[in-house]
Amino acid sequence: VPDLTAESPDERLDQLVELVVELASGHLGARMPPSEAGDRIDAVTVGLNMLAEELQALSEDLEQRVVERTHQVEQAHRQLERLALYDPLTGLANRTLLADRINQAMTGVDRGAQPPAVLLLDLDGFKVVNDSFGHVVGDRLLVEVARRLQEVVRETDTVARLGGDEFAVVAAATTATRAIEIAGRVQDALKRPIQAGPHQCWVGTSIGIRMAEPGHTAETLLRDADTAMYVAKGQGRGGVRFFEPAMHATALVRVRVAEELRTAISSDQLEMHYQPIVELEGARTVGVEALVRWRHPVRGLLGPEHFIDVAEDTGLVVPLGGWVLDTAITQLARWRAGVLGRAGFAMHVNVSPLELRSPSFAEDVLGRLARARAAATDLVVEITETQLMGEDPQTARTLDTLRSAGVGVAIDDFGSGYSSIGYIRRLFVDTIKIDRSLVSDVDTDPQQHRVAAAILTLVEAFGLTAVAEGVETAAQAEHLRALGCRYGQGYLWGRPVPVEAMTGLLSAAVQEPAPRS
């Protein structure tokens, strides 16, 4: 009771006032020891201490929770940012982030920095991989491509996936020479085969480059790089092109061609013409090459050179190839049942390398033959030499399956590209079609004559059959015959003609075996 108090109640009340002031000013750790009296003032003191402790604990809890929530919000924000700015499959920047990086670089240009270069690329043959092996394999391929692209750029450069098989590199502060170097490294990186799951895939790439100039926006640069890329693709796989303003018109034409071709395939605008393949000795027709034509409602009759590239870039090569095969095989069966009888004959059909890389292609061809009741031995597929890329095992399997079933394989335009003896040796062909460029001067240019002679010797040595293309004069035909070439094709014997005209020509009896082994 009161004697135990060390201080007078008034002093303790003063201390209590100080405690309240300190707590009020935010010092929640402030406490006041109670006296030993245990009286009402001590009760208030203890109560205040305990309230302060409670308040301090709640405040700390709250702070802790704020820290945790802030962290969670930051994490969610980062995750959203990733979703918004990065490609979830490859982890590369997406189009939004890429545009942002380009715009950043362009801001630097306004302050006098060197402009960036935008490189746009897509993968040649990706669609076939995806269609043939499925999206899982396609996705693995894209992930590996992304990894390789990141390996060949500087840290200051940005690699982005714009969607599908389209990628872009923004090389900061870059000269044209350096941009070309990067393009070269990208192409080297993608030349090596890519193991995607159980499948080894070959993809090349064509690259369009747009060197930025002050005032350019990301949108302009990407559009121009895209245009340049399409021009690069149009000039053969693996090309690199810088953007030039004149390219825009070309790009627009390609877009229109693609749209119109889609309509053409489904609305009977395609027609097949046939050019005779003859035996040089006696000029008998032993086969025909089926050549697709497009009867364009405005532009008239168009040869494949006007639309094949677009078809391959847009995937239209699949329905187009299907139409070509069906038409040729059906016609083959009709001729066999009519004018041909049992005479030796071969229907030559051009096949896209993209089709050959599809695992279902061989089966598809054999299925079409069976449905038309046509003999596999009457069909020859022609592959352009320049398009036979690398050592694609799927192409080899396709050709092997076709040949086992009796279908012949011819290399088209031999001598026009990287004429490889390897193709002749690799035992997956039966016929070599010698390019017109080697035929044109065979009768007048001794050098050409020697080259033609050498190729024919090789063809003979490997037990294959040669067909000379683009034969226009009797003199050329005679020289080729003298060199041991057995078959020829060209204006000397006839241009490609519609089916009715060819039926008439074939009626003039075909008896010798077809030009194939």
Partner: protein, 127 residues
């Protein structure tokens, strides 16, 4: 009457003739979390694990931390627990101890022994 028990924490345990267990905290103690846990453990030991009606004598207890109060909301070896204190300080402390919304054991504050005993014995074995 049960025997007294002591340890480094100067807690006293005894059982009276009505079977009520008395825990007495030393004077001037400021009970923190570890002390509260030790008190609960030693009560369980004293009771041999059987729950008993319990009186906690708070006379002279100077303070009770937040952590200690949380210990008292948990499971303990008592059917009911009466907090017994006489001074305003003890009343304040006890009522802080009772401020939690849920207790594993019924707990109340009493200013007199009679009221505490009445509440403990009026109840059934568990309440």
């Amino acid at each position: 009457m049960g025997g007294d028990t002591e340890s480094e924490l100067d807690l006293t345990f005894r059982r009276d003739e009505r079977g009520i267990v008395w825990i007495t905290w030393p004077r001037g103690i400021h009970i923190d979390g570890p002390m509260a846990r030790e008190g609960m453990d030693r009560l369980a030991l004293y009771n041999g694990g059987r729950k008993q009606p319990t009186i906690v004598e708070m006379v002279g207890v100077a303070g009770l931390t937040r952590e200690a109060r949380q210990v008292f909301t948990g499971e303990c070896c008592a059917t009911r627990m009466a907090l017994l204190g006489a001074s305003p300080v003890e009343r304040v402390i006890a009522n802080f101890a009772l401020a939690a919304s849920r207790y594993a054991t019924p707990i109340r504050f009493f200013a007199t022994e009679d009221a505490a005993v009445d509440w403990l014995t009026r109840a059934g074995p568990d309440r």
